[in-house]
Every structure is written in structure tokens, then in C-alpha cells.
């Protein structure tokens, strides 16, 4: 009683020490594995280094990497690919997962069945799924083309076509994430008080009107959250592209993190790779800021 505020100074200080000790492991860890590496990465992006010669002998190049990268047509293509993938994800995932959330929100039987069906993809290994996708869309033997053939639709080149290869990779991302964002939207939907809809019905508002004036506005924070997370994740995509196309055909699905991995660990150009990472990091920050701003001005 009363020891929390004006208590004896010695006791208070011992408790403060306990507090510091509880958070110390995480703080120390973050200095070693987050703060330190962040600073190192920034410094590295201004140097040339192959990680074989001693770190003290890195060559200073200033902003050379940045200038070179931003002028390089290949890197620009890679940036465009990354944006295309992100855009594709943003176009398909939110509406579809919101739709699924609506369906799940209705009092349907067999909730466990729908949850399992829509959610197992989320917990499934992306590497395994990427391998399956590669075979699903196999031009000659894959079931997708087989289905198209059965429906007398033209067979598609899928992974050998630049546009379609990107669509294949996006489809994996969409398929795998629907359940996850559906749950998030579901939580958002269930946070909307039922009285609002009842009042809306009494006023004669129809289905669609209720959706537009009650549901959507109240889902705004949830939607913003979903969009931001999709964007951040999509900009850093690696596994599906590494496994399914490895950047092909001819660099048309190559994305920043994949190229960065290649440049760093196959060509040992740590400085360039770090500069790539910094550019992407900046893009992630800017995208997130823009999305938060847009959400604010809408209000």
C-alpha cells in the first residue's frame, strides 16, 4: 500500500531494476540483431564489399550503388515487377476475403468445415505450395490446362509467358492469404453493433445501402490494416517466386528480395545488395505512410 509511489527510495529502485532486467534480454537482442544490423546495412550500402575480405577494408563508394541501381533498366524492371505483384495482391485479396468473411459471418452450419477449408492454406508451407503450383500450371501435364481443355478453352503457356507467370505467382499469394484476412475482416464485422443494422432496416435502408453506409465505414480501420499488411508482405515476396519461376521467364517475375539474394550470395556484391534493400525499405515506408494518410483524409 502506497509503496508504488512515494515509497522508500531503495525499494522503488530495486523494483525499477527488476523492470529493467525483465526487458533487458529483448533490448540487448534488439541492439545486436536489429539496431546494429540496420546501421551496418545503411553503412554497407555506401560501400563495396564481398564479405570475404575483412570488413575494415570495405571500399567507400558513396551513393554510387543507389545512382546505378535507379538508372539500371533491369532494376527498374524488377521494381515494376514487385509493384505489379503488390498491386495484384491488393486488387484480389481484400474484396475476396471480405466476401468470405461475410459468408462466414452468416449463421451457417458446419463452421468448422468452412474454417478448415478456407484456413488450411494459410498454415500450409509456402515452399510446398509453390512446388504444387508449379505442377498445377504445367503447360503440358498440369490439371489447370487439362481443365481448360475439357472446357474447350485455349490452353495457356502459364509459366513461359511473362504476364501469365506473374499471374500464377499472384494466384498463389491470393489463395494462401484469403483465410487469414477473412478472419481479420470477420473480427471487424463482428465488432459492428447489430442495433445499427436494425435502425437501418427501420429507416427503410436496403441491403446494399446498409453495406455502404454502415458496414464499410465501420470497417475502415480493419480495411486499412489489411491493406497495409498485404502491401508490406507483397513488397518483400521471395519464396513463391524463388520456387516457381526463379525470376523467369527472363527476369519478368524477378522481384527485389530475390535479386538482392542473388546479387549478395551469388555475386558477392554486398554493397549493391544492401542498397537494393534500402531502396525497398524506403518504398515500404512510403507506401505505409501514404496508406495511413489516405485513410486519414477520407475521414
Amino acid at each position: 500500500m502506497g509503496q508504488r509511489r512515494r515509497g522508500r527510495a531503495g525499494y522503488l529502485r530495486r523494483r525499477d531494476l527488476a523492470g529493467w532486467l525483465f526487458v533487458a534480454p529483448v533490448l540487448i537482442f534488439s541492439v545486436i540483431f536489429f539496431l546494429g544490423p540496420l546501421l551496418f546495412a545503411i553503412v554497407l550500402s555506401l560501400h563495396q564489399w564481398d564479405m570475404i575480405s575483412p570488413v575494415t577494408q570495405m571500399t567507400w563508394v558513396g551513393f554510387l550503388h543507389y545512382v546505378r541501381l535507379l538508372q539500371d533498366p533491369l532494376f527498374r524492371l524488377i521494381l515494376r515487377n514487385t509493384f505489379a505483384y503488390t498491386l495484384g495482391s491488393l486488387v484480389f485479396i481484400p474484396p475476396l476475403s471480405l466476401g468470405i468473411a461475410f459468408l462466414l459471418n452468416a449463421r451457417v452450419r458446419l463452421q468448422w468445415l468452412w474454417r478448415t477449408l478456407y484456413f488450411t492454406p494459410v498454415v500450409t508451407s509456402t515452399v510446398a505450395l509453390s512446388i504444387v503450383w508449379t505442377h498445377l500450371f504445367d503447360q503440358n501435364f498440369g490439371p489447370i490446362n487439362a481443365l481448360l481443355g475439357d472446357l474447350h478453352l485455349p490452353l495457356q503457356p502459364w509459366l513461359s509467358s511473362p504476364t501469365e507467370a506473374m499471374l500464377v505467382v499472384i494466384s498463389l499469394s491470393v489463395w494462401q492469404s484469403l483465410g487469414y484476412y477473412a478472419i481479420i475482416f470477420l473480427a471487424g464485422l463482428q465488432g459492428i453493433p447489430q442495433e445499427l443494422y436494425e435502425a437501418g432496416s427501420l429507416d427503410g435502408a436496403g441491403q446494399w445501402a446498409q453495406f455502404r453506409s454502415i458496414t464499410l465505414p465501420l470497417l475502415r480501420t480493419t480495411t486499412l490494416f489489411v491493406i497495409v499488411i498485404i502491401t508490406i508482405n507483397a513488397l518483400q515476396v521471395f519464396v513463391p517466386i524463388f520456387v516457381i519461376t526463379n525470376g523467369g521467364p527472363v527476369d519478368t517475375t524477378d522481384v527485389v528480395v530475390l535479386k538482392m539474394y542473388d546479387v549478395a550470395f551469388n555475386y558477392l556484391q554486398m554493397g549493391t545488395a544492401s542498397a537494393m534493400a534500402m531502396i525497398l525499405f524506403l518504398i515500404v515506408l512510403i507506401c505505409t505512410l501514404i496508406q495511413f494518410r489516405l485513410a486519414r483524409t477520407d475521414n
Binding site: 536489429f34 498454415v123 489463395w175 528480395v257 549478395a264
Partner: protein, 292 residues
């Protein structure tokens, strides 16, 4: 409660039976229609894993093997040291999960229930530094691990992953809701700080711990990029890396059955964990999702 059950048109009238039935039919239809593409890849990977090489390259396509080749599953274990990889994955994933639970709960407790000077600054700094995406840090962290001689080791796989911003944030939120009186009462009874953490805090945040644990497990099980960077020795491979290496053994459509069987085996553990702990998992997402 469902907004889409409310009726369009005349105010205050309950939906007629016909409308209600149609609505439910529509909902179920959509759910089923949507479920088909969701289930299709799973069906395909299982079916292909049981086909013969001839069936795999057959045109028109074989939709289900005539004689399921169960021995393919046995073969996978011999083509690559898959059993070893499972052990590696299990050990590493469990170690990381425990580490995350421990570090997140300790830090969450410290940030929630202690009021030392600089606490809020430290919390903010911590959170911002941990929000930096991994790809930015991967070269420096690789270098650190390399200099420590931890390439191709368990500690190299485990240590860089044992702290997450999400975990600290989530558990701090949870611990904030624990009444201070409980803690004060324990202190009056003479309990030391660590004992308060262990006997009072931990049991009270069990739901959050299990949700966080499940998340961590499933995420770390399929972690690919980091093991890809630091592992060269096949006997240290984790399952995702092993599966990736299987691709070079089964690089044509004809021996895709091996690859598919490997994929099924890789998928099974996460699915089991999810099915057993569905409720906590879903709850964990809503918690994390809304807190942002």
C-alpha cells in the same frame, strides 16, 4: 448476427420464409463454390503423390491414380535424409517457439507492470527497431552469424529468431489487463519479482501464450530464406530446405510423385497443429489483427 439477413424494402418487416431460404441457399452455394478451389490443390498434391510416373505424364490427364502407390511415401525418406530434416525442423521450431514465448512474456511483463524511467522510450525504440523488415538486415545478420562460427548450426538457425515485436506487443497488451492488486498482494506476501512472473502472470496469460506459440510454430516451421542462407550441409537442412533440394532429384513431371509426396509430408505437421489448436489460432489472429 448477420447484416445480410436483414431484408431490403419495407421497413421493420421480418424477411419472408422464401427470401430467407433463398438467402441461405445462396450463402451455402457460395461457400461450397469457393471451397472447391481452396481444396483443389490439396486434392491434387495427394492424388499426384500416389500416381505412377506413367499416369503423371498421361494425356488426357489422370484425375485419380488407379493403383495408389503408397510406397512413394517410403521412397521419399531414402532419397534425401528427410527424417533428419524433420528432426531438425522440429527441434529448431520448438526451440524458437519457446524462446519467443519466454522473451515476449518477460519483456511484456516488464513493459506492462513496471514503471521505470525511460520505459516508454525504450518500448517505442524497441518496437520501431523490430519493425524493420528482415530483408534489410539479412546481410548484416548473416555476417554476424558467420563471424560467430554459427553457419550450419542449430544456434545459427535459432538465435536470430527468438525475439519478435509482435510477441512483445501482444503479451504486453494482455498483461496490462491483469489487475495490479493481484501483483501488489503477492508482493505483500513477500513474493519476489521473478516468482510473480512465473506463478501469477504466466498462468493468467495462457490463452495469449498459446496463440502466440501456435503462430510462432507455424511461421518458423516454414521459414525458408534464413535457413537457405546459412545451411549448406544437407544433414542440417530443415524441411522447407530439404523439400527445395528434392526438386533437383525430381525435376521432371515423371518423378513428380516423389516431390508431391515430400510436399504432403512437409504440409502435414502444420496442418495437424492447426487442426488441434484451431480455436486459439483464430483467436490469436483476431487479437493481433485488431491491435495492429
Amino acid at each position: 448476427m448477420n447484416p445480410s439477413l436483414a431484408r431490403a424494402g419495407s421497413p421493420g418487416r421480418r424477411p419472408t420464409n422464401v427470401r430467407r431460404v433463398l438467402r441461405r441457399a445462396a450463402i451455402y452455394t457460395l461457400l461450397i463454390v469457393g471451397a472447391v478451389p481452396m481444396a483443389f490443390p490439396f486434392y491434387y498434391v495427394i492424388a499426384s503423390s500416389l500416381m505412377t510416373p506413367d499416369e503423371l505424364i498421361q494425356i488426357p490427364i489422370t484425375w485419380w491414380p488407379h493403383h495408389p502407390q503408397w510406397q512413394t511415401y517410403a521412397n521419399v525418406w531414402t532419397v534425401i535424409p528427410f527424417a533428419r530434416m524433420f528432426v531438425n525442423s522440429l527441434f529448431v521450431t520448438l526451440a524458437i517457439t519457446l524462446g519467443i514465448l519466454l522473451t515476449s512474456s518477460l519483456a511484456g511483463f516488464g513493459f506492462a507492470k513496471y514503471h521505470f524511467k525511460g520505459r516508454d522510450v525504450a518500448f517505442l525504440a524497441l518496437l520501431s527497431s523490430m519493425m524493420v523488415p528482415f530483408f534489410v538486415l539479412l546481410i548484416p545478420i548473416y555476417y554476424i552469424i558467420k563471424e560467430l562460427g554459427w553457419l550450419d548450426t542449430y544456434q545459427g538457425l535459432i538465435v536470430p529468431n527468438i525475439v519478435t515485436a509482435f510477441g512483445v506487443f501482444l503479451l504486453r497488451q494482455f498483461i496490462l489487463t491483469i489487475p495490479d492488486e493481484l501483483i501488489d498482494a503477492a508482493r505483500i506476501d513477500g513474493a519476489r519479482e521473478l516468482r510473480i512472473y512465473w506463478s501469477i502472470i504466466l498462468p493468467l496469460i495462457r490463452p495469449a501464450l498459446s496463440a502466440l506459440g501456435i503462430f510462432a510454430f507455424i511461421y518458423q516451421w516454414e521459414n525458408f530464406l534464413w535457413p537457405l542462407l546459412i545451411l549448406q550441409n544437407p544433414s542440417m537442412f530443415t524441411v522447407p530446405i530439404g523439400l527445395n533440394s528434392l526438386r533437383s532429384y525430381a525435376d521432371t513431371q515423371q518423378n513428380a510423385n516423389l516431390l508431391m509426396a515430400g510436399s504432403v509430408l512437409a504440409i502435414v505437421p502444420s496442418v495437424i497443429v492447426f487442426l488441434l489448436l484451431q480455436r486459439q489460432f483464430v483467436r490469436g489472429i483476431s487479437l493481433g489483427g485488431l491491435k495492429g
